[in-house]
Symmetry: C2
Subunit: 358 residues, 2 copies
Amino acid sequence: MPIPVRTLLGPGPSNPYPEATEALARPLLGHLDPEFLHILDETCHRLREVFGTANARTLPLSGTGSAGMEAAFVNTLDPGDVVVVAVNGLFGERMVDIAGRCGAEVVRVDTPWGRPVDAEQVLAAHPAPKLIAVVHAETSTGVISDVSGIGAGKGEALLLVDCVTSLGGIELPIDDWGVDLAYSGSQKCLGVAPGLAPFTMNERAWARRVLAPRSWYLDLGMLGAYLGEGRKYHHTAPVAMIASLHAGLGRVLDEGLPAVRARHQASGEALQRGLQEMGLELFASEGSRLPQLTTVCVPDGADAHAVRRQLLHDYGIEIGAGVGVWADQVWRIGLMGYNARPAVVTLILGALREVLAR
Amino acid sequence: MPIPVRTLLGPGPSNPYPEATEALARPLLGHLDPEFLHILDETCHRLREVFGTANARTLPLSGTGSAGMEAAFVNTLDPGDVVVVAVNGLFGERMVDIAGRCGAEVVRVDTPWGRPVDAEQVLAAHPAPKLIAVVHAETSTGVISDVSGIGAGKGEALLLVDCVTSLGGIELPIDDWGVDLAYSGSQKCLGVAPGLAPFTMNERAWARRVLAPRSWYLDLGMLGAYLGEGRKYHHTAPVAMIASLHAGLGRVLDEGLPAVRARHQASGEALQRGLQEMGLELFASEGSRLPQLTTVCVPDGADAHAVRRQLLHDYGIEIGAGVGVWADQVWRIGLMGYNARPAVVTLILGALREVLAR
């Protein structure tokens, strides 16, 4: 059978950088091999640079972004702890679900989908939460929210930020912004296949962690022992995926974070300008639009699903549907990692124009 | 830098089948792409063949083997439930840890490391447990235990079996043996890189599952919705790793399970014979030795760590250390998946002979 080739312009995965793909297929190393441990250490170091952090506890977790979310909560919340969760999309909802399973008292702060979280409102929601959790870049709506404002006013609370769609695409200096814990995914702006969750936590979060988390697999205390001097075995690391992340991060840092961010910014602006010139309306509120993930309203008369199917079938282009009630009313178009470049913008605008004109 | 190449003869990962490596580097597909969903369905079907089961709920979980272990327990045990765990090595110990975190009442049945679990003793440990958990092939000791005997006598209990090191290497007809839940890892006898946990559960286990598990990431109720008709998004599947597992399983089934098992059996026997001819003593008790993972006692006068280092440095061969108190007294030599062949047996026996003669 012919191997299908896709231009992946949904909400992720995106097409990996060639360097990341090449590394996936290299001869496999054992998870305790000195050469692999060197790659792992360098991967953690590179993640620190991309997160903008000095946190010693920065590592790729052995699961997808949602495993990062679960790790953050199960290592932070004991039953009865108060957590404020800002909800302006699917991933805020997921945080509420996971925090609830930890037995925490969840105070949710709702904002309509498509609009950014209001920092003041989040800070006012409870006088003394243990944790405040917010999504930096909502993958379900294409909206960016102000994390630094929450970090500045958090007081004694810990601040947890979902960076799945933001890491490597837009500015995110987590130490400067007062973020105590953060997680991401490999398959968005980092330009690597899905399967790993970059994770980081600072000393403040470490000092207040749950000592015996509900999850063994995501127990950060035990995981830390593998990374530390003793190299104590915890579970078999997904070595091929980590080698690929190592290579993808190397590519990003070789190009330089400012250049990579500028590329995401320019691509997203060009796409959003082009869509509006075609007469289409953007879904995310103005001033809060992510460059790396654009949400656009399906025009009257168009069949949202049929358009996506035609893009996939005729052009090999994947774009995403909307989430929840917007499934048939919104498209999500990602320009992440390797796909954040002018040729891809030209391709998707041209293909969409042709399909809509049929 | 030159790319290091290893012959991976530790307890896993093993060198992947060439087909599995090739598939890792194919153009990436989206996790909701019809072509990918076809690959996923076929992967589940192939897993059923390898597990020897008709279970509809058979799938690769998005984590390593230990995530499979955690999924099995968190979806089965409510606080206060009684679980009997057979412990004859590290992975039985891990089961006790994870079951304890679920709030279960854990009844452990200990057997000295290096010896098989006694089915009668396990069955007699408690009159009415909800779950009995046992490791089929203990990776820490190289010992096989009798699963079918426990399955025959389990009564109302559910039977959970760790098949991480057995699946694809030795006989394992889980339906015939009365196994209700089982998990494995991609990186052992299946000949794929680490990162996925093949998992299966039958209707009996499904009917008695935990309805709101502590883990969102490993909530099998939610995961099942992604595999079913609705294809409801749960988390972004690790598409590259699944494509690789698909290819590795294809290779195994093309060769034929009986032939693959015979190859593991012959390789393991040849290795164990060769080691004994060199005057070395095997660790696992006679009659309970896994062909795919051999444990051998470090001879008097040899430095266990130095020998392993020389094999790695001079020959590019990785073998494993012993676990726990046996770290310096035992080596673990795996002949799994692609490595279960005569040339590899010849290589490791020759290299070990040379290093020990120095």
